[in-house]
Every structure is written in structure tokens, then in C-alpha cells.
């Protein structure tokens, strides 16, 4: 058991180091371009470029360059952006992370509850109008682009109907920190949460319904019914329980990717300065140190989410426990 955990941690570390090396090579070791010049940004003076070259050791071998870069990024944490002079990478990411986490975590709660509700109700009402209606709604949720849905929500809650009693409580766009203003935090995020969750409720509901319908063909469901259990118990303790395994896999991947910055569109629409937006701006400005930082941050969450999925597997599926 201890070995398995250590092995898993080792794997995570290996993946992260691999990603960092890959990203570093792509940005700083591409043949035919001067990394120092890239780092210095557009219209930099030759002196600046030269200073950067010395500073980052670009006149030394690649492995040394990599070590220097990683050292400045993670150990001394004084890697700075040259596009936005003086902007330190790590603190900038650290400041954006809570915004993204708040957005994604809240949406995740909504989409897990919503997805399970839609899936379970549709599976129970299989082949009825209710089932078809829910599946059509889910398909609509999946098909609506998040930026469009977000703008529509804004249109309704921020301008058109903002003065009606329904939406007068909605604060203006932007993020309010949880610790200083919890109620404001909640109010600013509730519309973004629903917007981001709509897509995932659709996907998760449809997938869960399919899994449940399949589970009901299983022998052990027949056994459960033959035992004289109530339909609710058959659904919750037997069908749903075993159908959650693929559900958890999907959740781990989606959550990791979203926290890593894929909630970009939602962040932009609702004026939330999260990691996605930070990455986006860094890419626009060719701010390589910042891109490096956000990519590392994103890969960290994807790797951690995958590890958590594995842990949850062990909890919900005894067959995984042995191997």
C-alpha cells in the first residue's frame, strides 16, 4: 500500500517534470530564434537582451538553462514578466488561482448534483416523455456555447432586467474575495456558476442515463430486484453506485482541465481575472515566463485531479483495491 502511494507520487512528479521540460524546450530551445530576445519582448534594447542572456544563462548548455529557469520559477520565485515589467509570475498566478477555483468548484457542485438528477430521473422514466424532454434539454445545454450563454445571462441580469425585482440583487461584473466578502463572493459567482455548469449538466446527465440504462441490464440488478428491494434502493445502492465509476473518471478530467485554465471563456465573459484569462493575455503578449508558469500550474491540477480520481476509485470499487 505504502509502495503504491509512493509509486503514484513518483509518477506524478515524473509527469510534471516531463511537462516542464517539454514546455521549456518548445519556448526556449526552438532552433533559429533567440530565447533572450523573445523573453525581452518586442522593441527591447540590445542591452536588455544581453542582460537577460546573462541572467538566464542562455549562453550556457540547455540543461543548465532549464535548471536556472526552474530554480527561478519555483525556488526563488523571482521570475518576472518582461512584457509587464516587474510582474512576478508566481504571485500573479497565486492571485488568479482562487478566482478560477471559486468559479470551477461552485460550478462542479452544480453540475454533479444536476447531472445525477437528470441522469437518474431520465433513467427511471426511460422511454417516456419526461425522459425525452430531459434529454432534449440536456442536448440544448451541451450545444449552447458558453460565451453566448454567458452574454445572454449578462444581457438579462446586468442590463435588460437588472432593474426588475428578479435581478436587482446581481452585483456588477468582477470578483469579490471569499474571505473578506463571502456574501458578495456568492452573489457575483452564482450566474457564472450556472453558465459554466449548463454544458456539463447536459453531458453528465446524458452519460449517466446511458450508464444506468446499461446497468439495469446487469444480472446483479435482477438479483437485487429478486431480493425484494424497493425500486429506490435498487437504483441508489445498486445501479447508481456502480454507474458512478465512469462518472468519477470524467469528473476528474474535466475538473482538472477547468481549474487549469479552460474556464477561460466564462472568466472573460464575467470579467473574472482567473488563470484562464491570465494565460490568454500572456499568450497574446508572448509573455513566455508567464505562459511557462500558467502551463505548469495547469498541469499540476490535471495531474492532481487524476491522482484524486485514482484514490476515489479505490474507495468506490473494491476490485481496484487489490491491484
Amino acid at each position: 500500500m505504502v509502495f503504491a502511494v509512493l509509486q503514484r507520487l513518483g509518477q506524478m512528479l515524473f509527469v510534471m517534470v516531463g511537462i516542464s521540460a517539454l514546455v521549456f524546450l518548445i519556448f526556449f530551445a526552438t532552433p533559429g530564434s533567440d530565447p533572450a530576445a523573445r523573453l525581452a519582448g518586442r522593441n527591447a534594447s540590445p542591452e536588455t537582451v544581453e542582460a537577460i542572456r546573462k541572467d538566464f544563462g542562455f549562453d550556457r548548455p540547455l540543461p543548465v538553462q532549464y535548471v536556472i529557469m526552474m530554480n527561478r520559477l519555483f525556488v526563488t520565485q523571482d521570475l518576472t514578466s518582461f512584457v509587464n515589467r516587474g510582474l512576478r509570475i508566481v504571485p500573479a498566478v497565486a492571485q488568479a488561482a482562487p478566482v478560477t477555483l471559486s468559479l470551477v468548484a461552485g460550478a462542479a457542485v452544480l453540475w454533479v448534483i444536476g447531472g445525477i438528477l437528470v441522469g437518474v430521473v431520465a433513467a427511471l422514466a426511460r422511454d417516456t416523455l419526461l425522459d425525452r424532454g430531459l434529454m432534449v434539454l440536456a442536448l440544448i445545454g451541451v450545444s449552447m456555447p458558453v460565451y453566448w450563454l454567458g452574454e445572454v445571462m449578462n444581457l438579462i441580469t446586468q442590463s435588460r432586467f437588472h432593474d426588475t425585482i428578479f435581478f436587482s440583487w446581481v452585483p456588477s461584473l468582477g470578483y469579490k474575495p471569499l474571505l473578506t466578502d463571502p456574501w458578495g463572493w456568492f452573489k457575483t459567482l452564482i450566474i457564472p456558476w450556472f453558465t459554466l455548469a449548463a454544458l456539463y449538466i447536459g453531458i453528465y446527465g446524458r452519460v449517466l442515463r446511458a450508464n444506468l440504462v446499461e446497468a439495469y441490464q446487469e444480472d446483479f440488478i435482477r438479483t437485487a430486484r429478486a431480493k425484494g428491494l424497493s425500486p429506490a434502493r435498487v437504483m441508489v445502492r445498486h445501479a447508481l453506485r456502480t454507474s458512478l465509476i465512469p462518472f468519477v473518471t470524467m469528473f476528474g478530467l474535466d475538473f482538472g482541465v477547468l481549474v487549469g485554465g479552460s474556464a477561460l471563456l466564462t472568466e472573460v465573459v464575467f470579467g473574472l481575472n482567473g488563470v484562464g484569462r491570465l494565460t490568454y493575455q500572456a499568450l497574446l503578449n508572448l509573455d513566455l515566463p508567464m505562459v511557462l508558469g500558467t502551463v505548469m500550474y495547469a498541469s499540476f491540477f490535471v495531474v492532481v485531479a487524476n491522482a484524486l480520481v485514482d484514490v476515489v476509485y479505490v474507495l468506490i470499487d473494491p476490485r481496484v483495491r487489490e491491484s
Binding site: D127, E218, D219, F220, R222, T223, A224, R225, A226, K227, G228, L229, S230, P231, R233, R237, H238, R241, T242, I316, D317, P318, R319, E322
Partner: protein, 341 residues
């Protein structure tokens, strides 16, 4: 056997099961009647598609209510169970009628321990503490011959061998001391030596618990080994039924002759060829009103296109147009031993 004097536990009369398909209603089980007395083992034998499993599922109300229509009369301990509400039926399922499924690999939920699953069934029917239910589970596992029940109770299905798993399934079916066990091909997925153990167990349970058993199988050997009475199903109908002894000694229906001739003997002289039945069993949508076996029957005549009559001889009965003594003469030609190698 004294089982003939025991009261009737389950009485099935004119059971017909139809499915809604793209091509309209298809009747998978037609006008099936049989009864089971207390403590008796009745075997329903048939090939795939004969309707034997459908019969069993509809008895337990486990069919899909949206697509399946069940007609006829089924009375269990004097109650018509086809008319019961789902709630009333649930109180019978698992408590008075236990199900043993074919494949112990898939019949148990992989994410719960054996003990949990047995206790769940007990607690669904009795007001009893979790601890007491667990204690009962341990006792039951010992009863069905698991060597270390204290330990097995906390095992997950995948940690047990096939034979142990089937014993656990049987323990679960027994957990509320049901009057009737329905076993759907309980040994088909097992190795021969393990099958022998499980059949032995079923016979012992009948003795110790007094449960009646409906045993569904395709294996004539298993039937001859454990059943008191047999019903042979073909194309949705029971074509022959009777006491096992008599049926194996002198089967009445040409399909039964074919089945017997199809099984290679394990002792005695070897046959040069098996007396196989030509053709194959029909699918339920291809069966008309007449005898379902007629297209494969060497003795079919035009009268077989009509619904065959039920003829009774002693404890046996068969759905066939043939009458004595013609039947006896034909049977001699079919089951004679002249073709030995």
C-alpha cells in the same frame, strides 16, 4: 416419493407471456401450466429460446412491465401473484421465493461484500439489527458449505472462486427461509466437479430447509440427477411433463426422444452416430398455433398444423397428436440400439 400428497405451493395455469416488438406482439410462452408441491424439485428443461427463463422471470414479476404482457393464473400459496401490486410482490420476492441466477460472476454486485448483500436482503424483509443480520449471514454461509464463513462474509465477490460465489448466491436466496427457490441454470457456469458439489448442496437444502425448487436447465443429466418431476419446454410450450423416473424410462413426445438421442452416452457401447434432431429451434416470432416441433419432427402429419392435444398416460402428459400403440412403436424405432459402433 411422498411429495404427491404434499399441498400444492405454486400453481401455474395457462401462463402466456408476450413481448412488444417492432413486428407486433410475439408470444414467447404459450399457455403453460404446471404446479409445484411443497418440498418438491421440478425441473423445467429446454433449449435456448424455449421460453423457460421467460416463464421464471414472469413468475417473479421481474419482466419489463412496459414491453411485456403476462396472462394466465399463477397462484402461490393460494394468492394470485399476477394481480398483486408491485409492493405486495416485493414482499414475496426474496422472502417467500428466492432466486438463484445462472452466472455467479455477474449475479452479485461487485462493489459490496458478500455479507453486506445477504444482510441487505434479510433487512429488506425483517426488522432486525445490522449486527444480527450479519450473524445470520455468517450462519447461512456455513450452511451452504463455505469452509470459513467468518472470513468469507467480508469478502467481495471477485475474491471468491466460482463455486464459492455460487454458494454465496444460494445462501442469499435462502436467507429468509423461502418456501420456493427458483434456480436458473445454477450450475451451467461451473466446472463438472464443482457442479456435482452444488447439486449435492441443493438436494441437501431441500432436505434440511424443506424448500421446493424449480430448477431451470438445458442439461438432461442434471435433471435426471435431482428432479422429482420434469417439464420439457419447446417453442414456448411445455410439450411433455411427468415424473422424472417415468419420463426417462419412456418419454412420450418425439422432441424428448430427440433430446435423449442427442446426448452421447458416457458408458456402454458407443453410437456410430448420434440421433440428432434435424433443423433448429424456431424463434418465438415464427411459431404458429400448431405444434412448434412439427417442422423438425419425423412423424409430423397434416393434423400437426393444428393445436396439438394434451394426452395423459399415467403420471405423464404430452402435447402430441400421436396415440398409443403407434407412439410406442415409433419410439422403439427411434430409441433402438441397433446403430452402435
Amino acid at each position: 416419493m411422498t411429495s404427491a400428497e404434499k399441498p400444492i405451493l405454486l400453481d401455474v395455469n395457462g401462463l402466456t407471456v408476450s413481448f412488444a416488438t417492432d413486428r407486433g406482439m410475439v408470444r414467447a410462452v404459450r399457455d403453460v401450466s404446471f404446479s409445484v408441491r411443497e418440498g418438491e424439485i421440478l425441473s423445467i428443461v429446454g433449449e435456448s429460446g424455449s421460453g423457460k427463463s421467460v416463464t421464471l422471470l414472469s413468475l417473479l414479476g421481474l419482466h419489463d412491465r412496459k414491453t411485456t404482457r403476462v396472462e394466465g393464473m399463477v397462484s402461490f400459496r393460494g394468492r394470485g401473484i399476477l394481480d398483486l401490486s408491485p409492493g405486495e410482490l416485493r414482499s414475496i420476492r426474496g422472502r417467500e421465493i428466492g432466486l438463484i441466477s445462472q452466472d455467479p460472476m455477474t449475479a452479485l454486485n461487485p462493489v459490496y461484500t458478500i455479507g453486506w448483500q445477504i444482510a441487505e436482503q434479510i433487512r429488506a424483509h425483517e426488522k432486525i439489527s445490522a449486527r444480527a443480520a450479519r450473524k445470520r449471514a455468517v450462519e447461512l454461509l456455513g450452511e451452504v458449505g463455505l469452509s470459513n464463513p467468518q472470513e468469507a462474509v467480508d469478502r467481495y465477490p471477485h475474491q471468491l472462486s466460482g463455486g464459492m460465489r455460487q454458494r454465496a448466491v444460494i445462501a442469499m436466496a435462502l436467507s429468509c427461509n423461502p418456501a420456493l427457490l427458483v434456480a436458473d441454470e445454477p450450475t451451467t457456469a461451473l466446472d463438472v466437479t464443482v457442479q456435482a458439489q452444488v447439486l449435492d448442496l441443493l438436494l441437501r437444502l431441500r432436505k434440511d430447509f424443506g424448500s421446493a425448487i424449480i430448477l431451470i436447465t438445458h442439461d438432461m443429466g442434471v435433471v435426471s440427477e435431482v428432479a422429482d418431476r420434469v417439464a420439457v419446454m419447446y417453442a414456448g410450450r411445455i410439450v411433455e411433463r411427468g415424473e422424472t423416473e417415468a419420463m426417462f424410462a419412456s418419454p412420450l413426445h418425439p422432441y424428448s426422444w430427440g433430446l435423449m438421442g442427442s446426448i452421447p452416452p458416457l458408458t456402454g457401447p458407443r453410437l456410430a452416430r448420434l440421433k440428432s434432431i434435424p433443423g433448429m429451434p424456431p424463434t418465438p416470432d415464427r411459431i404458429g398455433e400448431g405444434c412448434g416441433f412439427a417442422p423438425r419432427c419425423a412423424f409430423a402429419r397434416s393434423a400437426c398444423l393444428e393445436r396439438p392435444p394434451l394426452r395423459k398416460i399415467g403420471t405423464q402428459a404430452a402435447l402430441c397428436i400421436l396415440e398409443e400403440p403407434e407412439r410406442a412403436a415409433l419410439r422403439r424405432t427411434v430409441l433402438s440400439a441397433e446403430e452402435f459402433a
